[in-house]
């Protein structure tokens, strides 16, 4: 991959987001020579953030500073980044990578239009001059190639291991004033999650249900199964909570609780990346699903292709019979 390569480091509450280090691995996999780290913030914190990036990665850092960047908003990012990248000449190849997080996916597509770039989202692997991403509930992958000189990419969290970066000497830092831009978006702060659940995070065994549960009348199957285990709790996918079968305090995943029990029993769960994000570090994962091709079977240690409505009662029965 030729041309310049930029990594946009996102930060929250004064801390660089962890996915940033994965982006450094991604840039290496792309064969980028000397990627440049970028960070956007207000004058008060830009030097510290840029300094941390330069020390931890050894890469050169561009810090874009302005009072409109005190809090994140897509508008603030785009109105700062578009003029910065538009200056690069038409023909020159430029790759810009950010994490596929709620913020990355918020501003990156808009940035791509502003600089006439190709936008590829949720990238999880690199081909030869191409990028690979999942489609169709993880059943297939698409290899795509950019048809523009400029390419903006969001990289799936967890897809590239944050390798041991050996920074050597810290990179050079360049702070660029981004002017004072008056925004039409007004930030009103952040609200804490409404559904944090200590019971879930402490449980040793989580019996978790997906849409395959079929209805709230089958919750009793989960309760039956979980009563076999002493320190157990009920988990759920977002789909289950959206249906109102369990309340949102049971939701596990990128926008719910993150858990790592000794045993995770995934019943009727397809294995969407947003769900896996909240449970992939469980000690042992067992999946029960009627569809032998469900993505969850690629994450599970043990898979059982069965209908949960008949298999769970059978499992409980065999367990009680065998004592």
């Amino acid at each position: 991959m030729s041309g310049r390569f930029f990594i946009i480091a996102l930060h929250e509450g004064g801390r660089i987001q962890e996915e940033t280090w994965e982006l450094v691995s991604f840039a290496r996999r792309c064969g980028a020579a000397g990627p440049v780290m970028m960070v956007l913030s207000d004058e008060g914190s830009i030097e510290r953030l840029a300094g941390e990036l330069a020390h931890r990665t050894g890469l050169d850092v561009v810090g874009l500073a302005g009072s409109h960047l005190r809090e994140y908003s897509a508008e603030a990012y785009i109105r700062t980044l578009v003029p910065f990248f538009r200056d690069a000449s038409e023909e020159e190849e430029v790759h810009i990578a950010a994490a596929h997080t709620s913020r990355g996916i918020d501003f990156v597509p808009q940035l791509s239009i502003g600089i006439d770039a190709c936008c590829i989202t949720a990238v999880e692997d690199v081909g030869e001059g191409s990028f690979i991403r999942s489609l169709h509930h993880g059943r297939f992958r698409a290899e795509v190639r950019a048809d523009r000189a400029k390419v903006v990419i969001t990289v799936l969290p967890g897809a590239f291991a944050p390798e041991d970066i050996e920074p050597g000497k810290p990179g050079r830092i360049r702070i660029v004033p981004a002017g004072d831009i008056s925004l039409s978006t007004r930030s009103r702060g952040t609200r804490a999650p409404v559904h944090a659940n200590m019971g879930l995070t402490r449980a040793e065994v989580i019996v978790s249900a997906g849409r395959g549960l079929g209805g709230s009348e089958n919750i009793r199957l989960l309760t039956m199964l979980s009563s076999l285990f002493p320190k157990s709790a009920l988990g759920a996918t977002r789909a289950v909570c959206d249906q109102g079968w369990l309340d949102y305090s049971h939701q596990i995943g990128s926008t719910g609780n993150t858990v790592s029990p000794r045993l995770y029993l995934a019943c009727g769960i397809s294995g969407a990346i947003q769900h896996l994000a909240g449970m992939r570090n469980s000690g042992m994962i067992v999946a029960i699903n009627t569809d032998p091709h469900a993505a969850i079977f690629r994450t599970a240690h043990y898979g059982i292709v069965e209908d949960l409505t008949t298999f769970i009662p059978l499992l409980v029965d065999r367990c009680l019979k065998r004592g």
Partner: protein, 263 residues
């Protein structure tokens, strides 16, 4: 207030997809059922609620797709949309996200929408980009992953909460017009009312040929479709249902994950 809701037609279950190794194409099997993308159901419901709150709002539903997409637009009208727009792509099943966003923008431009609602993600291609792309093309503001909204400032602005990692919410106020991408759980979508079903049956969809709209050339191309990457290879437990249950119990006991049950 004029509201545009973007609705995409998707297949109901990935089990009906067929992968042809000789062509490297994924096609729909004969039993494929199509329906509205779930996130778009939430977007449409939110539009209906805004109309109920404000009174006098007009809701258009738009879809870009082949002939069968008309059914999803009709569904939106059965649920209560006032007007349906079908950007017909003919033989092309689904153009790329970049073209789709430009097609929607071309059809929407000049119609004076105050608010455009889309889903946070299409369940089939999982790109999460048509909403924000569309916003940038139309030069509208944008917020993604919206889980709460309230129009304020005499209809000139909208307060939103966007859901971020761990379920926290970023609160912001945007000027109208803008594009919001709607996250599931913001509301509970309703069932169609008979009066709307009857009206939807008799009303015409506005059809626009995609080829008649001026859009820039595609920004990316598909090299090929690949099977999923082989991750950690787990074990599929085989046998009769009883054998599977017994094997699983054995494995769990071996790992001291399942205590013996008292009599």
């Amino acid at each position: 207030m004029k509201i545009l809701v973007c609705v995409k037609q998707v297949y109901d279950s990935p089990e009906t997809l067929v992968f042809d190794e000789s062509t490297g194409q994924v096609t729909f099997g004969p039993h494929t059922v199509f329906r509205m993308n779930r996130y778009d159901e939430y977007a449409l419901e939110e539009a209906l609620r805004i109309r109920e709150r404000l009174g006098g709002a007009v809701i258009d539903a738009i879809s870009v797709g082949p002939a069968r997409a008309a059914k999803t637009i009709r569904r939106a009208m059965e649920l209560g949309a006032d007007h349906g727009i079908h950007v017909q792509t003919g033989d092309i099943d689904s153009p790329g996200a970049f073209e789709r966003a430009h097609l929607i923008a071309a059809a929407a431009r000049g119609r004076g929408y105050d608010l455009v609602l889309a889903g946070v993600m299409a369940e089939d291609d999982m790109e999460s980009q048509v909403g924000p792309l569309l916003a940038a093309v139309l030069e509208y503001g944008c917020a993604t992953g919206v889980i709460f909204e309230e129009i304020s400032g005499n209809g000139r602005e909208i307060a939103v909460e966007r859901e971020v990692e761990g379920g926290s919410r970023e609160c912001l106020t945007l000027a109208l017009p803008c594009v919001l991408t709607i996250q599931s759980g913001i509301n509970t979508p309703r069932y169609p009312a008979l009066s709307h079903v009857l009206r939807a049956r008799s009303s015409e969809l506005e059809c626009i040929a995609a080829s008649s709209l001026a859009v820039p050339p595609p920004a990316q191309s598909l090299v090929r479709i690949l099977p999923p990457a082989q991750g950690r290879k787990g074990e599929i437990i085989e046998g009769t249902a009883v054998e599977k249950a017994d094997k699983l119990i054995h494995i769990l006991r071996e790992h001291s994950l399942l205590p013996r049950q008292g009599a």
